[in-house]
Amino acid sequence: MREKIQEIVFNSTKEFFENSDYELTTSIDNNLRLIGDSSPLDSMGLVSLIVEIEESINDDFDVELVLANEKAMSARTSPFINLETLIIFIEEELKIIS
């Protein structure tokens, strides 16, 4: 399942940067930072990317997952640090609802 999630997340991220004004200077991989100084996104960019990824995950897995849920927002370590933490979080959430 991890590989499929990773593929969806990477594709959504690629599509997002292609269709936005945000400049991506690194490759799209697990280490791509989503928050913090080294992220290519500002807060609104992060919101938009999360929405795009959520939609793609829901379509591909035919679920109604909300990524910005209580668990994500209250986690000691945010799942939105980079793409890897996000992918792991999505995998955990999909296992819970499946």
Binding site: M44, S48, V51, E54, E55, N58, D59, E64, V66
Partner: protein, 232 residues
């Protein structure tokens, strides 16, 4: 392509009227309710579900995205009221009113905005009530929850503005719907006497304001609440 309009609570009352009104205008209308809906029209889709259930809401928006690829207007009409003296208000009533009036508006606004932002256009129209500015006795819970909807409207207008989405609210006066059925006649008269125009509101009074909020030309109008009948 026709405007795509989503209206919550279309099985009866104002929601049913608005659904028929916008169908007459050749719009594509999607309605939702928990109870049976008898409205059938080639341009109307009805989704059964609970406005306060996140999964139900997401399913409705997914249906719209799959069928139409966009959503132009959301009318958060679904609502319920209850008159009680504060000291005799059951906790369950508070929870029910909060879920339908506030949580439903929150969930549908959030999920609709995700779809609207793709098109850089959207109109979200929320329902408040004259009971909020009038601070009516017996409506502590209903009016305070609707005041919350007004504040939600105001903040959302700021957060969603950059996506081309406007968010406004309308506050109707009493209208002869099932919502008013349980309100004693003397209370209704006292309420109507507070208005500049001392009459029941009509469905047309509401669609008139919604037409204004949803129009393409109203792209400079957001975060506003408009009360009918001269209430402010």
């Amino acid at each position: 392509m026709s405007k795509i309009v989503l209206i919550t609570g279309t099985s009866k009352g104002i929601g049913r009227y608005l659904a028929e009104y916008y169908l007459d205008k050749k719009f594509k209308v999607i309605g939702c309710s928990r109870s049976n809906c008898t409205l059938h029209h080639e341009n109307y889709d009805h989704i059964y579900g609970d406005v306060a259930n996140e999964k139900d809401v997401k399913k409705t928006i997914k249906f719209i995205r799959t069928k139409y690829g966009k959503l132009d207007v959301l009318i958060n009409n679904a609502g319920t009221a209850s008159m009680n003296h504060f000291l005799l208000t059951p906790t369950e009533t508070v929870e029910k009113l909060f879920r339908v009036n506030y949580l439903g508006t929150f969930l549908y606004s959030r999920e609709s905005a995700k779809l609207m932002k793709k098109n850089k256009f959207g109109r979200i129209i929320n329902f408040t009530t004259v009971a909020s500015p009038l601070s009516l006795e017996g409506e502590a819970i209903y009016s305070s929850i609707k005041a919350g909807v007004e504040k939600l409207t105001s903040v959302l207008s700021k957060e969603l503005g950059e996506f081309g989405i406007t968010v406004n609210s309308i506050g109707p006066t009493p209208i002869k719907t099932s919502l008013m059925r349980t309100v004693p006649a003397d209370k209704v008269k006292a309420l109507l006497d507070m208005q500049v125009f001392k009459r029941y509101g009509d469905f047309k009074d509401i669609s008139n304001v919604i037409d204004f909020f949803m129009s393409q030309e109203s792209n400079f109008i957001t975060g506003q609440k408009l009360f009918l009948g001269g209430i402010s």
